[in-house]
């Protein structure tokens, strides 16, 4: 049987220049203000050029997957908040989706609308923070970051009213949402959403035409589409290379089919494209919110067949995935009929997106490594779990 010939995508090999024959090995170590958490990159430099880069992580490994094997399905839900700690509601949704696939629950309409509203608010505040951190690393000293955090605080206040906690929301349940919307919450969401286009305009006025941003990010950290697909990149990083793959449009999960929104795609796959994709995705999220908030129907918020305690799904397995702000967040569950999962696996978008960090950084200057790494937009809680 002959094997099909296929192309393997391996990182390029950079030869050091002839003048210097000693490479400077730097550990851009776990304690570093721009590593988005405890993350190390073992970088070998020839002058200023990066010749070799190996990422090292595991400093935040909390063995979430093993804890889930001895805890019930419900008890793992608060731990999913702490994976990508910026976007706890989308983590909850991904886990709830996987369990609903495993057990065959139907989610009522009102709960689906609430899920979409909270997920899009999460996406907006995540992208705003990501842009803020990226420009902080370029040297913008926190101005765009603090403007982003001002909007983020408004959104987190909404989450606190709804779920009780700003970041560790623990709100989705298998078959719906935990608690009904408080009185007047939708009006407050509408007020925040009305103020968002002005905030995005301000951010664009501050950043998009800025010459320093353009000089530092255009043409830097280019990722080609075929490598991106083969390396399993998802999320804004993939769409910046030009590949049209947004799981909200592909899998038709939840009720995203009812909303008209576009998927922005990039041309070059460099840092500037990733920044622009995030800005445009924020605008599209505002569009979704403007359509979802008036339309939300009355009704129950939980599937009547689902149980809170003593939940024992049938034997089998399921893989459920959503378009989290960072990429494709998937949960793979194997059930053996008891109240604890036999195998609980988180497919972390941040970890997979780091596969090509080496490819993007080789041959670039060491100052650009920090920017490229910031444009990948990772959260260590998700990489290490």
């Amino acid at each position: 049987m002959s094997a099909t010939a296929f192309k393997s995508y391996r990182p390029p090999v950079i030869e050091p220049s002839e003048e210097g024959d000693e490479l400077l090995e730097v550990a851009m170590g776990p304690h570093h203000p721009s590593t988005h958490g405890v993350f190390r990159m073992d970088v070998a430099l020839d002058g200023e050029r990066v010749v070799r880069l190996k990422p090292v992580f595991g400093y935040l490994h909390r063995n979430h997957e093993k804890i889930a094997e001895t805890a019930s399905y419900l008890a793992s839900m608060p731990y999913t908040d702490r994976l990508d700690y910026f976007c706890s509601l989308t983590n909850n949704w991904a886990y709830a989706l996987a369990v609903e696939k495993l057990a065959g629950f139907q989610v009522p309409e009102r709960a689906e609308y609430i899920r979409v509203i909270t997920a899009e608010l999460t996406r907006i505040q995540n992208h705003a923070s990501a842009i803020g951190f990226l420009t902080q690393e370029m040297g913008a000293s926190g101005t765009p970051l603090m403007y982003a955090f001002r909007e983020r605080e408004k959104i987190l206040d909404l989450f606190e009213e709804l779920t009780g906690s700003r970041m560790m929301c623990n709100y989705m349940r298998f078959g719906g949402c935990r608690v009904e919307l408080p009185k007047g919450w939708l009006e407050r969401v509408q007020k925040v959403v009305d103020g968002l286009p002005k905030f995005i305009d301000e951010t664009e006025a501050l950043l998009t035409g800025n010459e320093i941003l353009m000089a530092r990010s255009q043409g830097v950290g280019i990722l080609k589409p075929d490598l991106a697909v083969n390396a399993g990149i998802t999320g804004p990083m993939l769409r910046a290379t030009g590949v049209n793959y947004d799981i909200r449009k592909i899998d038709h999960y939840g009720i995203y089919d009812r909303f008209k929104f576009r998927v922005p795609l990039g041309d070059h796959g460099d840092i500037y494209d990733r920044y622009m994709i995030r800005v445009l995705e924020m605008r599209e999220s505002v569009e979704i919110l403007k359509q979802a908030i008036p339309d939300i129907p009355a009704g129950p918020i939980m599937d009547p067949k689902s149980k809170i305690r003593g939940f024992r799904p049938k034997v089998g397995e399921a893989y459920g995935r959503i378009e989290a702000p960072k990429g494709e967040l998937g949960f793979y569950l194997i059930s053996d009929g008891t109240g604890n999962p036999y195998r609980y696996r988180v497919r972390p978008p941040s970890l997979i997106n780091l596969t090509v960090l080496e490819d993007m950084c080789l041959g670039q200057n060491v100052a650009d490594v920090v920017l490229i790494f910031g444009s990948v937009d990772i959260v260590l809680g998700e990489v290490d779990r």
Partner: protein
């Protein structure tokens, strides 16, 4: 011209800077701890046990069913059930916890204990300034430190507390109606028994004497 983008950005920053002197929107910093923002009603920090009335032990709603202990994800609740019983808010004798400790250095405020409690006995507090210098015992709150009255619960979470009180009042009315119906049925049965003639009973049997050594 070159630099136009940067000038536009600087204009944006200047607008924010000047605006922060005149509008609250732009100046969002609150000088904590001198100024505080009013807490949001639904916020949750750490659990507490509710008691009705004024006596923390007699009015404690918790019946030590240990469901919250089993469901707690980081297992930070320790309960010891009592061997005797005391009457609850409808008068039925129930166990109570002789020990109910929560280790708030482990508690992650997930609210699952509140969700699974069938007796509305444990709720979430809103206090977060709980730091202490005692490393080993200071963050292990025991039953007396955790007990708060229902009036306190109504103060911190008015909407939720009103809902819970309404539900418990409803249950109490139902339980009383049921007890009344049962009492009436028993009284009717006793009256019927007293009216009927006494039944003929067999004479008591003589005990068979056993010879020692048989």
């Amino acid at each position: 011209m070159l630099g136009e983008g940067m000038l536009k950005g600087l204009a944006e920053t200047a607008e924010n800077f000047a605006g922060s002197f005149v509008s609250k929107e732009r100046m969002t910093t609150v000088q904590y701890p001198e100024e505080r923002i009013a807490p949001i009603e639904n916020t949750r920090d750490f659990p507490f046990l509710i008691f009705d009335g004024t006596d923390p032990l007699a009015g404690l709603r918790c019946v030590a069913c240990q469901i919250c202990e089993k469901e707690c994800p980081p297992k930070c609740i320790y309960i010891t059930k009592s061997t005797d019983k005391k009457p609850d808010f409808v008068g039925k004798p129930q166990n109570y916890p002789t020990r109910f400790d929560i280790d708030i250095s482990v508690c992650m405020s997930c609210q699952i204990c509140v969700e699974v409690c069938p007796f509305e006995a444990i709720k979430m507090d809103t206090q977060f300034e709980l730091s202490t210098t005692d490393r080993f015992g200071g963050l292990l709150l025991d039953r007396d430190q955790l007990s708060r009255s229902n009036e306190y619960y109504n103060e911190i979470h008015p909407t939720e507390a009103a809902e819970v009180d309404a539900r418990l009042a409803e249950e109490k009315v139902k339980a009383e109606a049921k007890a009344k119906a049962a009492a009436e049925a028993a009284a009717a049965k006793a009256a019927a028994a007293a009216a009927a003639p006494p039944a003929v009973t067999a004479p008591p049997k003589e005990p068979i004497a056993k010879e020692p050594g048989a």
